[in-house]
Subunit: 343 residues, 4 copies
């Protein structure tokens, strides 16, 4: 078989490890051949791909990013998109299967193509850990690790200056990174999209900690919506109540804490460093196993499925299951975390 | 309630995070009181403990080791050991429950005490990840992370000198650390206690890699037994077949590779650095949640059980289930890893 | 002797190592006694200090921040400030000498007090590395190390998305952190306060790199002033030429690159993580040696001086030498770095 | 000009950064051409080299090891060695200059060739930091950083088990790595080749620390010779006084501490991880600058010299100066460190 791989959507530590795992297993176990579509679905639609011999995947387990490039192109758009055109492209290039490594949008595209009869499978990828049917996605552990390390640093500077520190982490729709990095760093409040909290409550938590002589650490996910707001503040650059607001939610939370508590407060937006660089050991193992397993699944011609971590095993699940809504932070995890807030 | 915590056996990153999670949840949710027995069961047997107010657990999430100290004392030994004496000690000090944080031996002791009617529960701890009934144990991810980082370094020095590199990691009875760190670092052979392999096979894998112009990396668990041997070589300091052998299995494997392939080979024993220092984010979250959950379980007076990670949830399981044999690397994980060896 | 230590100004990894070095050398070599003023000069002016026995400095070599706290209080302000009051405070508390650990402002205050006859000495501290008379200041190496690590991560995400990446680092008046971290990370342009560069030139460097198929990395110090501007843009929140500008210079540079080159560009502000957390080995050794040396200098009653790294030795220099203007990036270091830009 | 680079002797983080700096400066500033001899002097003697266009040095600043390979071949040995043969090789391949990146042996070879009239210059390389005329050599800071990180980990495990911990670091002839990593990690004794110390003294330091309730950390360089011994114990595998000894000096020191103090003691040999992997920011900057500077020096045809870090500048010095004996740890640095031992 000749198998085409693609990586799509935001990059994520572990993408290269998936590619390596898929190629090594395919070449060594089955004698399959691999090509890599350039820049996600764009490469599929335009028939733009590179050869992927095993020499090309050397040393990729520990390399961040994706050697295939990525984009947010949709496989159904444009004159060359859609299942018919893609089928023609595959035939012309003698490509027998497509492995789409990506998040919700990518997998939704993969499902539509599989539903149309194309030999397509998926590998779940989301740094936010928001996909159903898989316990964790690769990249998430690396993001938590980077955020934890950064917060450990913020703690010492906060203590020295008797300040409150705010750290804004990724998570537009779900709070997994905030929850795990916050618990890991011993945060005194974690603010996530799933739970509206009033700024008065946040200020109360912060004050309680400050009164005990400690430097409060507040972790806020990009998509957190304070009580009283209808939508995400991120990167709007607008104002409310006449107070100036520079950036996203981290800046807003910082200003409100300072205003309500009188405690000097500083914001740090971790930003793109959360999704780059070498994956953690956990993510390398997970990504390698997913890559190996997806090749087995392709070999078995189980189209329309994806591979997923469940407990300690890699299982095959229907793409439809994975696409059944975002995996948000459940209420009991929020209650668990909240015990550690404030006081 | 007044709850006594103890940490027993080899130390492990995350022990302090368990203590912190248990105390914070107990104090804030239930108003419980905590004490910490010094040096594991020794403190129980001798009634030697310290007060554990919440101020004492500040900042512990990221601190390696255990503030309680640890030892390998057995709670049934000596004139003050055994359930009757321990019960008297608990009554005299008004301690209502014991939380034993430890590995197989510790949990077996806890079970025997619980079977004798004492209010004892457990938290699983093993850096080797060899306990049943829990997907992972804290400390394991940190060990894999440290080993991976070290192996990344060994790779570049191996390539520069055209050498084969051997890395000996922990794992007397199971190969989990070797398997995960080896897969993570892109090792060309991983040797584990669960699988006897001949040195000729290892030499073949090494030669194949060397012939492709790369520097072979071989990861070996302390407890690996080469084909033709009956028992573990570790730290025996003896010889076989007239060849000198300095240390443990890593040295033996190194010498044999060099003898059989003619390739210059170097051994590195990672040793104690694998079990010290700050835990990874993954381990901090896991340990914190286990600590919080065990306090809930004590509050519910479910004696004779332990808390365990299953999928993404912390569940309560009977200690007997956890003690039903070592959790070894299963055959399909070995087959999966083996695809990546050699060639 | 009874010696009072203080840490003043922005915190910096290594402050605690200086304190530890000073106390251990003083206690063990000379039998001196130590106290620590709380929050810099505020503690001096208010006579607010804590005892610093050697048990208090245990494990401080690797701990970020300062256990003494810090502030930006001036020793000459307020009803209790000025040399006469401070002398009275010292007599009342039997404090024989003051060691001020701080940057330009702190050392200027120390010099004025020494000129007024008080037994005061200094230890240079600036994360920006902008003090004369010392080759490096502690904290600088840690900041470069953190920034380098972050930029390594930005590189992989830039390559995957074919973007240009901008990293804003500390440095309001000098470009040392930008220069060293940029050279370390292989940046394609480094923008520093010492050198005005037009945005057209920056865009040219970025385009050249992008045309060679690589992801351009631009490092910009907070205090960089683009050609055509009169002053620093940092945190002004104003606009120019009708284009919106959210934050500081990093945002401005990012927008201009995107506007002039058409290449998707992303900014990351490293912010407070650069000054927190465990110091590097280099900074721990430097800070420990400075701390030990300042105790020797106090013992020798050489007031009005500071200790400084020159080559590999710690020497004593007059505070006036250190205060003779900022140590900026010299022209030949800029020319050296510029060879690596663009193309 | 066509310039040939070689890396020789033990590998060292920063070698690739030197190569990159030399090539980028040469190509961009002067239009020079570069080739890389394979495996040190072997490539010179055998005329075995690869083309080094600037695309080949992409991303090398952060890559450990050397892409040129290394060996311990001597340029004067064999039928093709010696200045006449090398001159013929250079003419035949139109190579105008040789840049030898290496330690004492390599630079001695370079000097002999330069004395014979060949256009040869050097770049100092030694992870041990034992070369005269340069304040630091690249690789040393990385080794200290890795060792410090490992020792931080050993500390927590030592404290938990009430053990003494021994860490054996590199340094056959000089104690720089031991001195700096030991000071950085807060070691309670540092044993270096330059200073004979009795095991009774070491045991005294260890006991003093243990009595204060702390876990003693002893750092020992490979080349340390205890009082009463005439030569280095490293890797001899022999015994003395009937006591068994498995490995090198670390094992001996460990056994003696245990024997003399009765305190459980564990050894860790850091070994090859000290010389592999990504260089620190400090080493990347130093190595890049040395590479750039050596190209300038070649352009100026100043043969028989090497580039060296002195203070903050890169200067040119005669190879003879660098070869004038090992740079050992001077007495005043030993006295300084000793203040921190024991008690």
């Amino acid at each position: 078989m000749k198998i085409g791989l693609l990586t799509s959507g935001g990059d994520c530590p572990g993408l290269n490890a998936v590619i390596r795992g898929a190629v090594l297993n395919g070449v060594k176990t089955y004698g399959h051949e691999f090509v890599g579509f350039r820049d996600g679905w764009r490469g599929v639609v335009e028939g733009d791909y590179m050869d992927l011999p095993r020499t090309k995947v050397r040393g990729l387990a520990r390399q961040g990013g994706t050697i295939l490039g990525t984009s947010r192109t949709n496989p159904f758009d444009g004159p060359n998109g859609g299942p018919e055109n893609i089928e023609i492209m595959m035939e012309r290039n003698e490509i027998d299967a497509i492995v789409a490594i990506g998040g919700e949008g990518t997998l939704a595209g993969a499902k539509r193509l599989a539903d149309a009869g194309l030999p397509v499978v998926g590998v779940p990828k989301t740094i936010d850990n928001d996909l159903q049917a898989t316990d964790y996605t690769f990249g998430f552990d690396t993001a938590v690790s980077i955020a934890t390390d950064a917060m450990d640093r913020l703690r010492t500077t906060g203590e020295s200056h008797h300040r409150a520190m705010v750290a804004e982490v990724m998570g537009r729709h779900v709070g997994w990174i905030a929850l795990h990095s916050g618990m890991s760093a011993g945060a005194h409040a974690v603010l996530i999209p799933e739970q509206q909290v009033s700024m008065e409550q946040v200020a109360k938590w912060v004050s309680e900690v400050h009164e005990r002589g400690r430097s409060p650490l507040v972790v806020v996910a990009e998509g957190f919506i304070p009580e009283g707001f209808d939508e995400v503040l991120h990167n709007k650059g607008v104002e409310k109540d006449g107070r100036p607001r520079l950036g996203g939610i981290g800046d807003y939370v910082t200003q409100e804490i300072e205003r309500l508590t009188g405690i000097e407060t500083r914001n740090t937006i971790l930003g793109h460093i959360q999704r780059g660089g070498a994956p953690t050991g956990f993510d390398r193992v997970l990504a390698t196993r997913l890559g190996m397993a997806v090749t087995d699944m392709v070999h078995d011609k189980e189209w329309g499925k994806m591979v997923a971590l469940q407990g300690t095993e890699i299982n095959r699940v229907d793409l439809s299951v994975a696409l059944d809504g975002l995996k948000t932070v459940p209420q009991h995890r929020w209650e668990e975390a909240k015990v550690l807030f404030g006081r």
